[in-house]
Every structure is written in C-alpha cells, then in structure tokens.
C-alpha cells in the first residue's frame, strides 16, 4: 500500500474512531476490512489501528484477532488473555459492562485460559500505549500554552518544559523499540517493546497529569480516560514491571545480552 492510500486509510479510521467505540467500532472496523488487513498487511495495519485507538481514546476488542491469528485460528471471536498478577481475562465483543478500570472496557476476569502466543499481541498493545501517551502529551502541551500564571504561559516554566520533554523522550524511545522489534521479530524484542511502551505511557500519565493540574483531575476533562486506559493496557499480557523482570531472568539464563538493534 502506497503512502497516499495509507494516509486515506488513517483519515478514515480516525474519523470512525471519533464517533464509535466498543461493539459499534468493532462492527465498523469489520466493515472496513480489518480482518483482511490483518492477514494481508499486518506490518502496516497493526501499528496504524492500535496507535489510532490510543490517540483517539476509542476502544475495540481487536486484540483478540491479533492473538487468534498469531495462534493460527480464525479472527472475530474471543480468547482468554493473560493479565498482570497471573490473572486471565476475556475482552468481550459486546458492551457488557465490567468492573475494569474506566467503566467502559468489557474486560472480564476468567478462571484460567490455555497458553496463547503473546508476542504479536504485545506488539499491538505497545502501539496502543504509544498512541495513548501521545494523546496525553498533546492535551498537556496545549494546556501549558493556554494557561497563564504569574503573567506568563506555564509553558515558559522550566519545570513544565522538562516534564513534557521527558514524556516525548519516553514515547519516541518506546516507538523506536516497537519498530526495531517488528523489523527483526523475536519474542524478547516484543516483550521489551511492550515494557518500554507501558513505561512510556505511565510516565506520560504522571507528567501530563501534573502539568494539567486541577483541570486534568476533573471528570469533565478527557485526561482521566487516557490514564485509566494506559493502566489497563499496561497490565494486559504482562505489565512493564513484570516484563522487565522476565527479560532479566531470560538474560541471566542465556548468560549474555543479544544485540536486538543495530544502532
């Protein structure tokens, strides 16, 4: 797919995600050929769709499809997924409410599932987390420019500038690990990329919430939805903390650190 068609696809997806979420967005994505894209051009479709979910704040149960196809099974259904703390969940394809953080995600605890391949799912979640981080950064950046204190925009204070700069560094670093992992697919690379993306989104949440101050703490402001989403996505298929520990264990067992990217 050439870059012009990709841009058209991105514009269409963004428009769809601005108006639909959950079951309705799941149906709209199916209509747009999501499952075909996942089979025919996953290297472009997965980063695009999942990053846009993060940037728009919409959600859809399409992580199921990524994991199912990686397992060589049909897309369109659900599959139990490992969650932080050794828990298992099912990301439902209906809007049946659950107690998952944020009130809108149909993510339900289940007793236990069968082992599933997780690398492709971690790659997809990494892009979702990066998108959520960018959405938070964009809200905080705009507020820093708009909000004046002591006679000048708060964007002119170094404490604010450093927090926003640090957020961008984390997001760009995570995105680079996602791109590097996709270029030379390997379980450890995807594990590390998901850990970096989770860490970047949590860093974005911390700094952007602080920069947004009181307004970012209200239910009326959309920041809280991105923060809650980031917390849940970080815990899905292993949290950044758990994955970092797992990576360390793997390196100790191997006895050396493989070169994962040529710098």
């Amino acid at each position: 797919m050439d870059s012009e068609s990709l841009q058209l696809l991105e514009d269409g997806l963004r428009k769809t995600m601005a108006t639909a979420s959950g079951q309705q967005l799941d149906a709209a994505l199916a209509e747009l050929g999501w499952l075909e894209m996942l089979d025919e051009m996953p290297e472009a479709a997965v980063p695009l769709v999942f990053r846009l979910l993060g940037e728009t704040g919409a959600h859809a149960p399409v992580l199921n499809d990524v994991v199912l196809r990686a397992a060589g099974r049909e897309g369109g259904g659900t599959v139990p997924l490992p969650f932080a703390g050794g828990s298992w969940v099912v990301w439902g394809r209906t809007d049946q409410p659950s107690s998952a953080l944020g009130d809108d995600l149909p993510i339900h605890r289940v007793v236990q599932g069968d082992p599933v391949p997780v690398a492709a799912g971690r790659h997809a979640l990494g892009w979702w987390l990066v998108g959520a981080g960018r959405a938070m950064l964009s809200l905080a950046r705009q507020h820093a420019l708009d909000r004046s204190q002591f006679g000048r925009p708060v964007a002119s204070f170094q404490a604010i500038r450093h927090r926003l700069a640090e957020t961008l560094v984390g997001i760009e670093g995570a995105e680079a690990t996602l791109v590097a992992a996709a270029a030379e697919p390997d379980d450890l690379s995807f594990l590390l990329a998901k850990a970096a993306a989770g860490q970047a989104a949590l860093t974005a949440a911390r700094h952007c919430q602080q920069v947004l101050g009181g307004i970012g703490f209200t239910a009326e402001h959309e920041l809280h939805r991105h923060i809650k989403r980031a917390l849940v996505l970080d815990a899905m298929l292993g949290s950044s903390r758990e994955l970092t520990r797992e990576a360390g264990k793997a390196l100790r067992a191997k006895g050396f650190a493989p070169r994962l990217a040529q710098l």
Binding site: S99, R109, R241
Partner: protein, 78 residues
C-alpha cells in the same frame, strides 16, 4: 501550629515529602497487587487514583519547590 506560631516556608518541605510518600506508597500498592487496581472495584482503586492529586492540591509540587528554592535556599527569582 498548636502554639499559634505563624507557619513559614518550612511547610513546603513537609508538603513535598508527604505528597511524594503518598504517591510512592500507592505505586507500591499497584506493584504488590498486580491486576487488582485494573480489574476490581475495590477501595485500593480510588485511593490510588486520588493519591495522584497529592502533588497538585494545596499548591503544586512545582510551586513548593520554587518556595524552597527562593525562600529557604535564597536562590533569588527564577
């Protein structure tokens, strides 16, 4: 405070210490109870989320540090 003494810039140090402690405490809760905040509607969840405000309400962490830098360390204006 009980003796009616006026409170000075020293209180900014208390604010930075206690706000940081509260957030680190609830960061530790999320680490020690993985999946609980995210999946279950328990009091841990609202306590964790509310702890994020500790560095915002009553004068943000940035304001407190500016007071410490200017009034206690005598570093002059930014």
């Amino acid at each position: 405070m009980a003796d009616g003494e006026p409170l000075g810039p020293q209180t900014s140090i208390d604010k930075v210490l206690l706000a940081g402690a509260e957030q680190r405490l609830y960061d530790t809760v999320r680490d020690l109870l993985p999946g609980t905040l995210e999946l279950d509607d328990t009091p841990w969840r609202s306590e964790f989320l509310y702890s994020r405000a500790a560095t915002i309400y009553g004068g943000t962490a940035e304001i407190q540090r500016n007071i410490i830098a200017r009034r206690l360390l005598d570093l002059g204006k930014e």
